[in-house]
Symmetry: C2
Subunit: 388 residues, 2 copies
């Protein structure tokens, strides 16, 4: 196991931004290089190709995009370009981030329907197909992992069933908390959009929105008749820029975040050197360890069923009387940042432990540090279920 | 004079991304920290306050925003939030980037008029006021410096005259290539929007859009009746987040680019430690040196008149027969990246030398290196006007 040589710091064990590898930190500190200079374009081209590899998408099929911005930018790219005003979209809603994507779609004029699943419960294929029958949907939104609850959607089953039932509906995956953590086979599962952000499973600092489009998604954009009422997220601007840069030829629209892309390149190199299947396995192992530790403390997660539990984070209901605002500063005092809850009404009653990227692979001692801090803090509060 | 201790590299002497200071590179390599953790919120708060200082804007007046994204994001923030569909906007058009801002406004439904100034000529106050009379304009767009031509608009004169002639019109300044280079007095000149990007005069890597809004601009947003058809650039989302973070209280919409903000903090600290007036003076001195060297080589700039020439870059018409694509690789071979032209029809006939930030202040030897490389390259090409 490697040891980070970064300055000693409180570990970011939240569901993103996650801890970064030394080589990623070093790439962030790279000297300036013009966004259109040969040495950068070469790295940018490789980075775009690596996005395809991480998502199991073949060269020449569809197009990856890397934009400067938060993960949210991916929602805007979908809403502004792929859906025309009044077109119908179905959201398989599992919580906070499904609601967010829906709000974004509605802001651009889409007509949004929801199938709402109970708190902590993953989308059911049959209920999803039933809802799909209600209308001709331009797109279905699947939140692969909802970062607020730790619920994992059965992406493969949903995608294959939806494609069969409604061949022309775009299958749009919010993979913000799943890419490079949970298995995704972009081509084999016939997905149309997978969007994510740099600071989660991809293991780079925050600052990049990463989006993979299928040829079907690009055709939906090219065949739209309504004008796109957006500029920074316009695919008319970005598609030629990404194609050109992937092809090794500089092309400019809005200046890329050069150092962030160098860092993403370094991070994806680690992932692909390890192998994507081994990366998924490391997240399953880390997740199993975290969930076993939480069970041993007598604590429950928001998703009750094992198959509904994501592998990149664990949501932890606190024992009676304890709240996130009590516990989180104590954990920080022991060297680990955990995240509070996000779900209205119960936000104070649970915390979120992230275990993605280096914290379950090259620096897996970081997860052990977090679990030890959790056990000690609950013990000292005299509140863990085992001691209560 | 300080010496950079960054790895030896080809200097980025383009009008952004510019060279960075060692302390900025080190901040980019900071360990991960959650976007809502106390230590980061403290820095974010200070960074927002430093934006005010750089722009000479008093605390509590208006609101600065720092968003993850390219500088272009600032155009979208203006177009999506401050202008309602069909409202009229007047663009004082001096080139490529004025056209770009106008395209962005039109994409969101604004009705855009232009006063077009000749290539290389700054906006004339009288002609601008004349055009302003044609209609009730919601906003006037001033491209302070057009990065494609090196033309500098007389911002103070324009702003004071426009405010007098049309008190309710928003004065929107594209300061992408001017903030922390050219004098800007946000409050004293009664400006409504100044937008920029991190990788120019502010001296940080690319990846952040920086926007200062006046109370008048915020009121225009708050009083609009038409819905905002955008999400990532929505002021309804970002204003509370920025106010809260400036006030030291974490609040989340879309994850901030944490390391980029730490780097911007480091960079603005250098600027403010030096003093903003000394920073302007350093850019005037660097610009004078660059323009004298270009004149000595017998070469002309796009802006013919000295008062129309920006202080952060110099555009250089190449001697007969030489093109950017010939010269730029030779300059790179001598250790400096310069930028090609952007103006249709003459793009190959001129190059652009950037001289902003550390390259004219702490590491001012970098500008000397660039000027020497330029002189040598033109000499070796046997094409400089002095030898031709």
């Amino acid at each position: 196991m490697e040891q980070s040589s970064q300055p000693s710091h409180t570990l970011s064990m939240i569901p993103g931004p996650i801890e970064i590898h030394d080589s990623v930190a070093q790439a962030m500190a790279s000297p300036s290089v013009p966004h259109v200079a040969g040495p950068f374009v070469k790295v940018f081209s490789e980075t775009l190709k690596m996005v395809r590899q991480v998502l199991d998408n073949a060269p020449g099929k569809g197009q990856p995009l890397i934009l400067s911005g938060g993960g949210t930018v991916g929602w805007d790219v979908v809403a502004a370009n792929l859906i025309q005003p009044s077109e119908k979209v179905l959201v398989l809603n599992i919580g906070y981030f499904s609601d967010g994507f829906a709000d974004c779609l509605a802001a651009y004029g889409a007509s949004v329907d929801h199938v709402r699943f109970e708190l902590g419960v993953a989308p059911d294929v049959d209920r999803s197909l039933e809802a799909l029958k209600a209308s001709e949907y331009r797109a279905v939104i699947i939140t692969h992992v909802d970062t607020s609850t730790g619920v994992l959607s059965p992406l493969k089953d949903l995608a294959l069933a939806i494609r069969k039932a409604s061949p022309n509906t775009l299958i749009v995956v919010d993979g913000v908390c799943s890419v490079a953590v949970e298995e995704i086979r972009f081509d084999a599962w016939d997905l149309d959009v997978v969007l994510t952000a740099s600071q989660k499973g991809l293991g780079a600092p925050a600052g990049l929105s990463v989006i993979q489009l299928s040829d079907r998604a690009i055709a939906a954009f090219e065949n739209r008749t309504a004008p796109v009422h957006a500029y920074y997220v316009s695919l008319a601007k970005w598609l030629p820029v990404m194609r050109s840069n992937e092809d090794g030829k500089p092309m400019y629209f809005s200046t890329q975040a050069v150092q962030n892309i160098l860092a993403l390149h370094a991070s994806m190199k680690l992932i692909l050197d390890q192998g994507i299947d081994k990366t998924f396995a490391a997240h399953i192992a880390g997740s199993n360890k975290a969930k076993a530790a939480v069970a041993k403390l007598g604590l429950k997660q928001i998703p009750a069923k094992a198959e509904d539990q994501a592998h990149g984070l664990t949501t932890i209901y606190l024992p009676n009387g304890l709240t996130g605002p009590d516990i989180i500063p104590k954990l920080a005092g022991k060297g680990v940042f955990l995240a509070g809850g996000l779900i209205k009404g119960i936000a104070a009653n649970y915390i979120r432990l992230g275990h993605m990227g280096v914290s379950v692979s090259r620096y897996s001692y970081q997860l052990d540090t977090a679990l030890k801090a959790l056990e000690e803090t609950l013990g000292e509060s005299g509140q863990s279920s085992t001691s209560a």
